[in-house]
């Protein structure tokens, strides 16, 4: 993960756009809160805008 983030940083992808978490099937509440957190984080960052046109 840290290696991926280092490479993505070189490509201009913010650290906050990638997250790795482990959630078991019985941790429903935790799953929901992680997803909500991540959603809020991404929304705050705004659209990705790849700029891959020629």
């Amino acid at each position: 993960m840290p290696l991926l983030k280092k490479m993505l940083a070189q490509l201009g992808v913010e650290d906050e756009r990638v997250r790795l978490d482990w959630v078991s099937a019985s941790e429903g509440d935790r799953f929901a809160s992680i997803v909500n957190e991540m959603t809020a984080q991404i929304k705050a960052l705004g659209p990705f805008h790849r700029n891959n046109g020629g």
């Binding site: 290696l3 991926l4 490479m7 070189q10 490509l11 201009g12 790849r50 700029n51 891959n52 020629g54």
Partner: protein, 336 residues
């Protein structure tokens, strides 16, 4: 037997693919025996207007090398596509972007600034940079537009075949020539090399894939019998298509990834991150931090030849026409 009409063209290329064709030495005569070359700027004098005058699909095969980085490259790619029955992306640049696609880590404004304004060997007091049109002494002149982003051939026109390599090996080229001569080309969409990764072709002894440090090539002299990855040298073999005969490995150098991803791998760089990270034994923050210091410039190493072909294709751009907010300092990626 009517001869095939063959076109060879170079876009954002170094000429190495042309030389690779010439490296077939006397076998070039086999090519000439079966084909009439109707375009090959490095070797014959046909011009764009000759191609424009041809009817559509008049050319049997077009071997197109070089990446697409300007409006002229795109225009000629589309012209040749219209005039050719079969279009082959020849070489790593046309297949994946190649070394020029490292230009996707920057953009036109930054490149112009470095090349025409900052370069120490330049004398450019008026800070002139290329424009697409200008008038000099009453004469109107035009230049193609340099794009911000380098593209692969397939990203601008449909392509039937892919012949990877930087440059493609002579064996591979002869395979293509013989398939043409015998009318036995594989199904369209084929990458003419091996479908498997280089590791399966590599002769080195493979034991336990576990490393505790990564060495840069100048830091150790690798043992020529053992797997390079197992010795801590970053070798792109696991995520690179085979078919090249492991030439670099035979020279005791790691694979650079020029044949692109093997069949079934969508993004070569991502696969390499996964491969390297999975063999590195790290049991805590310190180990991870050390690994990050040792793996210098991941983007350059893992996407060396294929940035244009990757899922992200390029580094995100700051607003067009401006220099990047903080020009990336050299210290940031070379660590230590």
């Amino acid at each position: 037997m009517t001869k095939l009409k063959l076109a060879l063209y170079w876009a954002s290329s170094c000429g190495g693919c042309e030389i690779a064709v010439l490296d077939t030495n006397e076998k070039i005569l086999d090519v000439v025996a079966i084909a009439d070359i109707v375009l090959w700027p490095v070797a014959v004098d046909f011009k764009y207007h000759h191609i424009e005058a041809m009817p559509d699909s008049a050319i049997d095969v077009c071997l197109f090398n070089g990446a697409i980085r300007s409006s002229e490259h795109e225009k000629v790619a589309k012209l040749l596509r219209a005039k050719s029955k079969v279009m082959a992306a020849f070489g790593s640049c046309a297949c994946f972007g190649g070394i020029p696609s490292l230009g996707n880590l920057t953009n036109r404004a930054e490149i112009f600034h470095t090349v025409y304004e900052e370069a120490p060997s330049n004398e450019n007091p008026s800070r002139t940079v290329p424009k697409t049109a200008t008038t000099v002494d009453g004469h109107h002149l035009e230049l193609p537009e340099t794009y911000d982003t380098v593209m692969t051939l397939e990203q601008v026109v449909p392509v039937e075949y892919f012949i990877p390599g930087c440059p493609p090996t002579v064996d591979l080229i002869l395979k293509v020539v013989s398939a043409l001569a015998n009318n036995s080309l594989p199904p369209p969409g084929t990458v003419i090399a091996s479908d498997k990764s280089l590791c399966e072709e590599c002769y080195r002894k493979k034991e336990d894939k576990k490393i505790t440090r990564v060495w840069r090539p100048h830091q150790i002299v690798p043992d020529p019998e053992k797997c390079l990855l197992e010795q801590g040298v970053i070798c792109c073999g696991p995520a690179t298509r085979g078919g090249c005969g492991a030439l670099c490995i035979k020279a005791n150098m790691p694979c650079e990834g020029c044949f692109g991803p093997p069949a079934g791998v969508l993004d070569q760089g991502a696969k390499l991150v996964s491969a390297i990270a999975s063999i590195y034994q790290a049991s805590g923050e310190e180990d991870v931090s050390r690994m990050l210091d040792e793996i210098v410039d991941p983007v350059g190493r893992f996407y060396r030849f294929g940035l244009a072909h990757s899922l992200l294709r390029r580094k995100r751009m700051t607003p067009p026409g401006t220099l990047s907010a903080a020009k990336q300092p050299l210290a940031e990626v070379t660590a230590r």
